[in-house]
């Protein structure tokens, strides 16, 4: 059973090697895990907090574990070093209280991590702020500022700067639009035209991730 996947999920599933063990943070309705299980023999767990999503994950027959990603003390610290081949976090990093701490933690428990987020450097966001002087509302960022889970929005530029200061190596990067396309302009100026950023990252070999909080 293959239903249409969200564009970033379709891209991620091409990056994940068959037969691997993964952790999907904020796994939503479990579509990615179900897709990877059915097409790439991938095992692993999804972490989720929303009741309706949890019910859908159970119905989709994937392993879902209820956990609040903001509760790092309680949650991820119990997974041992490199428990997973990949830790995947799709469209969730911008909802986390301390994204830098979470990044350090997922790079500890996963050999590699795949992170996707809405690019706040997209031209429509810039235009909204520059011309209207208002926080952008779009298909990838559909909610008004006062009623959104997205509390830590960033641009490709911002994310890569954080990676640099945290000894995180970018292995692969892609930008897509919600229809899973990467048109020419997006390739040319990703921080201006990319709507959704997709990164594959890991700890720089032999380097520790500095934790400042």
């Amino acid at each position: 059973m293959t239903t249409t996947l969200r564009s970033d999920l379709a891209l991620i599933s091409e990056w994940i090697k068959p037969g691997t063990h993964i952790l999907d943070l904020g796994c939503g309705d479990g579509k990615l895990l179900a897709h990877l299980r059915d097409t790439r023999q991938v095992s692993g767990y999804g972490l989720e907090i929303k009741e309706s999503n949890l019910e859908q994950c159970v119905a989709a027959d994937i392993n879902v574990i209820q956990m609040d990603l903001n509760d790092l003390q309680k949650g991820l610290c119990h997974f041992v070093h490199e428990s997973f081949d990949y830790v995947v976090m799709t469209q969730a990093i911008q909802t986390i209280h301390h994204p830098d701490l979470l990044l350090a933690e997922i790079l500890r428990i996963g050999r590699e991590c795949i992170v996707t987020f809405p690019n706040f450097g997209h031209w429509t966001c810039r235009l909204s702020l520059a011309l209207k002087g208002k926080m952008p509302v779009s298909t990838t960022l559909p909610n008004p500022w006062y009623d959104t889970e997205n509390i830590h929005l960033c641009t490709l530029e911002d994310f890569e700067e954080l990676c640099d200061t945290k000894n995180i190596e970018v292995l692969q990067r892609a930008v897509v639009d919600p229809n899973h396309r990467t048109p020419f302009m997006m390739r040319l100026l990703p921080n201006l035209f990319g709507e959704i950023a997709v990164y594959r990252i890991r700890r720089k070999p032999g380097k520790a991730i500095p934790v400042t909080h």
Binding site: S43, L54, E55, V58, D61, I65, K74, H78
Partner: protein, 385 residues
């Protein structure tokens, strides 16, 4: 509560308990042996042709075999887990054959302290072997064999019942496909044991206890058992649910400056205690609390629960409840962690509920939805997917 004038459609209906006798001696962990014994049980639904659709239900401290349906049209209430067992319910009797037993040491028909010891022609009383969760599991294996079930599709239990399900998965990995562990714990905390000890002391210091031989004196340690139940009941509820149910409401609307029942909560606890005495045996209560205290499957694995669960093959559903302070969500998470350490299949849900430990018996929609969805995914031979 009114009597059911007619049985609800999603009920398993009128049920007759059955009895299985065993003559092969059963060795207990404590070293004692029972040469023969009986187990009383109920079944709901139909066993399929290749006996591959059977689910075992394990009961909690004060539970018994009567988990669903009615014994007669005069019953005020159905079995203790009727919310979850029946046609279209999470444990769907249209698909599954469900077996629910009264554990050894119980007081509802299975061999226990209140049954006659054939060697003395008197009730076993305090001489009944101290029984452990492992002992129960061994006896349940035999019940399964007697019913022609070599592998259970699932073993399911809440609280102490969940501990039995967990023990099954560890001791007999090949004999179950799915393990559902609800509101349970991999071992009791010091606080849990402390509550149990106060309960036991309440019973054993009752002058009517006669060192457990109260049957011979035509006596019942009423006060002690009632106190034990009152104390237990407080730990089954939550601060929030007691506040919602009783608040500080007074029975007669005003303070009377005395020690009679004044607050509604006092009246409720006394009622719970008194009605428990009429349906439960004090020696069984003592045994059940000991089985709880001793349960610690990790002990044989250098206190490493992950090592204890390394060889389980069952798929797990683990459920906890936010307001359960008896076996809190953290205890369930220990089980989940030990399973993920071993890359086992596990789903874990922490259900938002104000009911405390008792939540596992309640028809909470999210809980029932998850439980149903999980059970629906279980494939049984002979069914079209």
């Amino acid at each position: 509560m009114t009597l059911p004038e007619k049985i609800p459609e999603n009920s398993v209906g009128l049920i007759m308990p059955q009895v299985q006798h065993f003559t092969e001696p059963l060795q207990f962990d404590c070293g004692r042996v029972l040469d023969s014994y009986q187990i009383v049980y109920e079944t709901y639904g139909q066993l399929n042709a290749d006996h591959s659709n059977a689910i075992l239900i394990c009961h909690a401290l004060s539970g018994d075999h009567h988990a669903a349906g009615y014994h007669s049209m005069d019953d005020k209430n159905p079995g203790w887990w009727d919310n979850c067992i029946g046609p279209g319910k999470p444990l769907d009797t249209n698909r599954f054959f469900i077996v629910s037993l009264n554990n050894l040491g119980g007081c509802k028909g299975s061999t226990g302290p209140n049954t006659i010891n054939p060697e003395t022609n008197k009730p076993y009383g305090p001489d009944f072997p101290i029984v452990t969760v492992n002992d129960w599991v061994r006896s349940q294996v035999r019940l399964g064999e007697a019913l022609g079930i070599s592998q259970w599709v699932a073993i399911v239990g809440g609280s102490l019942g969940g501990m039995q399900a967990l023990q099954w998965a560890i001791d007999y990995p090949d004999r179950l496909r799915y393990c559902v562990v609800i509101a349970a714990t991999p071992k009791l905390t010091a606080q849990n044991i402390a509550f149990n000890e106060v309960s036991r002391q309440a019973i054993m210091t009752d002058p009517e206890f006669y060192n457990g031989h109260y049957y011979d004196h035509n006596a019942i340690p009423r006060q002690g058992l009632m106190l034990a139940r009152m104390l237990g009941h407080i730990t089954y509820l939550s601060d929030e649910s007691m506040r919602a149910k009783f608040g500080r409401e007074l029975r007669e609307g005003k303070i009377k400056f005395g020690f009679d029942v004044e607050f509604q909560v006092e009246s409720y606890l006394r009622y719970q205690g008194r009605s428990f005495v009429d349906r439960f045996d004090a020696n069984t209560y003592l045994l059940m609390t000991k089985a709880l205290d001793y349960f610690d499957p990790a002990r044989e694995y250098s206190h490493n629960l992950s090592a204890a669960l390394a060889h389980v093959t069952a798929n797990f559903l683990v459920i906890s409840f936010t307001s359960d302070w008896r076996f809190s969500p953290e205890r369930s998470e220990e089980i989940v962690r030990a399973l993920t350490d071993n890359k086992k299949n596990v789903n874990y849900i922490e259900v938002k509920a104000h009911h405390g430990h008792d939540a596992f018996l309640m028809p909470i929609p999210h809980y029932l939805n998850v439980f149903s969805a999980y059970m629906r995914n279980i494939k049984i031979s002979g069914e079209n997917s």
